[in-house]
């Protein structure tokens, strides 16, 4: 056993992030570490590498009990981490990056010749013959990643952690990376591979550790774990049973309000078709990294559709900016409230009416009376708990912030509302209330496109669910076909 982490617990400000999690890695094996957002993967890795301190538990590496307090200690012990955003100095040469902070010296000066020879030698073991004097910024993502791996190898790493290493690579580059990983294995180095694309996991990994809600829920050989079972372990089942609130019987025909046809953009959205009808909640399901949020951004005009078309209420539209989509009656409650949602220092009042402002003006001046009326109404209807509308939004809890953001769009009286993980970070009680709210809005005629990672949510509230896998819409399930098994099957991309 190369690495053994047992009973690891960690809480942030009283909120548990890890509850007695474990992870074991044998020498020269590739261990897949998978789980949803917030499952605790990165916290566990950060504890291993010394970026966080554990509250409880034990770690042994290479037969010794260890407790790294800073990342440099983990590095010295032989644990290297390759992050998504590769930590290289882009303007320095390949050789300099490989030997960064450990430059070979001669008479107290940097021995450039030795550095160049060493860099060429290590890259040659990965069948890579490149000019080591060129800045790393000149090379593609896969090569940069290999430089980072080469750096790990020259540091005599015994364990290399790769955090979503394929997320920005194309197929050819992924093949090169996998060849590199196999080379590492042959030389006895173990790899922890954090990733979401199932096909890749099955191709390169020997074993898998699955995490959910801060716990390790399954460990298995890759070959003993069918895709369906893996996805079920990842998504799990929440204890709170959602009542089915979507009507079982569908009205005969409801006109399509928003339609996406074979849309694609970049590497994340490759071919997505979906339709949202009048008065329905249309779900958008898929694993992490399947392109759900990116699809929402395309619809909303935050990113451009490169190929394919979009129709809104029967007319073909191309939005250059979110403002165009908003003018057409589309709203988007984004997934990450902090980054894409709230303006933290502004008040609840200002945050709630930000989208509505252009309609709230008389000669450029904000109509304060109407603003107050709207804000007071939505605070009451949605039950936002706050000291006053003038309180900065950053002081509210996650659930209350989410309500303010929902109100931001409801106040614009939208025709289509896109909600990206509407119940993330909200307590169980408020979750089902938010779903009921969305349902009642849909019953009043609003078209809701709901992105969710929680199967129960989709099963309870959606009239229809489109499933994305690796940027492609692989299935659309209507209410009568909707079941946990059907969703899991489509997500694992095993459509019968």
């Amino acid at each position: 056993m190369l690495l053994s982490m047992q009973g690891i617990s960690k809480a942030f400000a009283g909120v548990p992030a890890l509850k007695s999690a474990s992870l074991e890695v044998e020498p020269a094996e590739v261990m897949a570490l998978v789980g949803q957002n917030g499952a605790g993967k990165s916290t566990l890795i950060k504890i291993l590498t010394g970026a966080y301190r554990r509250d409880e538990g034990s770690i042994s590496f290479d037969g010794r009990d260890v407790d790294f307090s800073i990342p440099a200690e983990a590095q010295a012990a032989g644990i290297a981490t390759i992050y998504q955003e590769i930590n290289l100095a882009p303007q320095r040469s390949v050789a300099e990056n490989i030997y960064l902070s450990r430059e070979p010296r001669r008479f107290g000066l940097i021995d450039h010749a030795a550095m160049r020879r060493g860099a060429q030698a290590v890259l040659k073991t990965f069948n890579l013959a490149i000019d080591v004097d060129r800045p790393v910024a000149h090379f593609d993502a896969a090569t940069r990643q290999m430089v980072a791996i080469a750096r790990a190898v020259t540091q005599n790493a015994r364990l290399v952690i790769m955090d979503e290493p394929t997320s920005s690579l194309d197929e050819r580059e992924v093949a090169i990376l996998f060849e590199t990983i196999r080379t590492l294995k042959r030389s006895g180095v173990a790899v922890i591979f954090i990733g979401h694309r199932l096909d890749e996991l099955y191709e390169i990994c020997d074993r898998v550790t699955i995490m959910r809600d801060g716990q390790t829920v399954a460990k298995s050989l890759m070959t003993d774990m069918p895709k369906m079972a893996l996805v079920r372990h990842m998504l799990g089942k929440e204890l709170a049973a959602f009542q089915a609130i979507a009507p079982d019987a569908q009205p005969a025909h409801r006109p399509v309000r928003l339609e996406l046809d074979k849309a694609s953009a970049g590497v994340r959205v490759r071919d997505v078709s979906l339709a949202v009808r009048e008065g329905e909640i249309s779900g958008l399901a898929g694993l992490l990294g399947s392109g759900r949020t990116e699809t929402a951004r395309l619809i909303f005009g935050a990113d451009r559709i490169e190929r394919g078309t979009m129709q809104m209420e029967g007319r073909e539209r191309t939005y250059r900016e979110p403002a165009d989509a908003i003018a057409d009656g589309i709203g988007l409650v984004s997934e990450d409230r902090k980054i894409d949602g709230i303006v933290p220092d502004m008040s609840i009042r200002e945050n709630m009416t930000l989208a509505l402002l252009p309609k709230l003006k008389k000669a450029g001046i904000v109509d304060r009376a109407r603003q107050d009326e709207i804000v007071t109404r939505y605070i009451r209807v949605l039950g936002v708990k706050c000291a006053s509308p003038d309180q900065p939004i950053k002081e509210l809890s996650g659930g209350n912030q989410q309500k303010v953001l929902l109100a931001r769009w409801l106040a614009t009286d939208p025709r289509v509302l896109i909600v990206d993980e509407p119940t993330r970070g909200i307590d169980i009680g408020a979750k089902s209330e938010i779903l009921k709210l969305l349902r009642s809005l849909a019953d009043d005629g609003l078209s809701v496109l709901m992105i969710s990672s929680e199967l129960e949510e989709l099963l309870a509230a959606a009239d229809r669910v489109t499933v994305l896998s690796d940027g492609t819409s692989v299935a659309t399930l209507s209410r009568k076909d909707l079941s946990e098994a059907a969703l899991l099957g489509a997500m694992a991309h095993q459509v019968e």
Partner: protein
Amino acid sequence: MMTTIETPAPQQSGSVSSGNRLLTLASRYGTFVAFLALILFNVAVTPNFLSLQTLNVNLTQVATIVIVATGMTLVIATGGIDLSVGSLMAIAGALAPMIFMGQFWQVESMALAVALAFLLPVVVAALFGLFNGFLVTRFSIQPIIATLVLFIAGRGIAQVMTNGNLQVFKNEGFQFIALGRIAGIPAQVVLMLVIVAAAWAMIRYTVIGRQIIAVGGNEKAARLTGVPVKRVKLFVYMMSGALAGIAGLIVVARNSASDANLVGLGMELDAIAAVAVGGTLLSGGRANIVGTVLGALVIQLVRYTLLANGVPDAAALIVKAGLIVTAVFIQQRAGRQ
């Protein structure tokens, strides 16, 4: 038919240590307290401090800084910065005398020429400001670099226009802006008060004002909420340019001369200092116009106090730097909670 949703209110964080509370107070009212302290100190120490003349001297000296700093506050509120203001002052200051002295066309009606001498330079400065905004929004150049272009080129343009010559003039109509009085108050001070009041009201009551704050507070969220981020940025750089133009006119009118080498020299730093001391975060998302005015007044009063008490101007510069460091330190500490 919406359902009412109940969510428990978040727990208020526990007791804040008294040191932190002091810092919060300092960051909120520190500039004002410093301002009051300086007044009291001067009343006690500086002879003849409580006179109309002292008030007028200080206000006229601070007027141009306040006007430029008001524009700078708007730019900084969006998370940007404008280094070109001093150079734009020089351009406006060079243009105005050329207009009423007939260098472009024969002056037939002096009233019209003076009116144009007020209007055109400000419009030109606004257009240069728009150019700054264009560089920032269209090419995503960092504001400090984008405005560095005109910081360097702007003064050159002013010098080329005037062949580097000093323009000396006497024109009562034009110079009213600096030498005239309205109800006993110097005209430039009245102008300053009008501009400050307008900017304050704009930030507080208008849509564009709220959008400026939103862009600085969270640009991504602002864009996803339909705020025309590019247009908002173009607007603030244009306003900053226009206000710098006005300040340029005041300076040349006050001196009865326009020297492209000197008009507005170092103004960008004075304006940024006033904004920083006034409590507007340089990272954007806030626009404390009143704070900016107080910041400019504090810097001016410190200088006046030292000079009036026989401390050389060079030493005053060091004190000014110390003030900025103190103000930024207090903000950072208070913001870290």
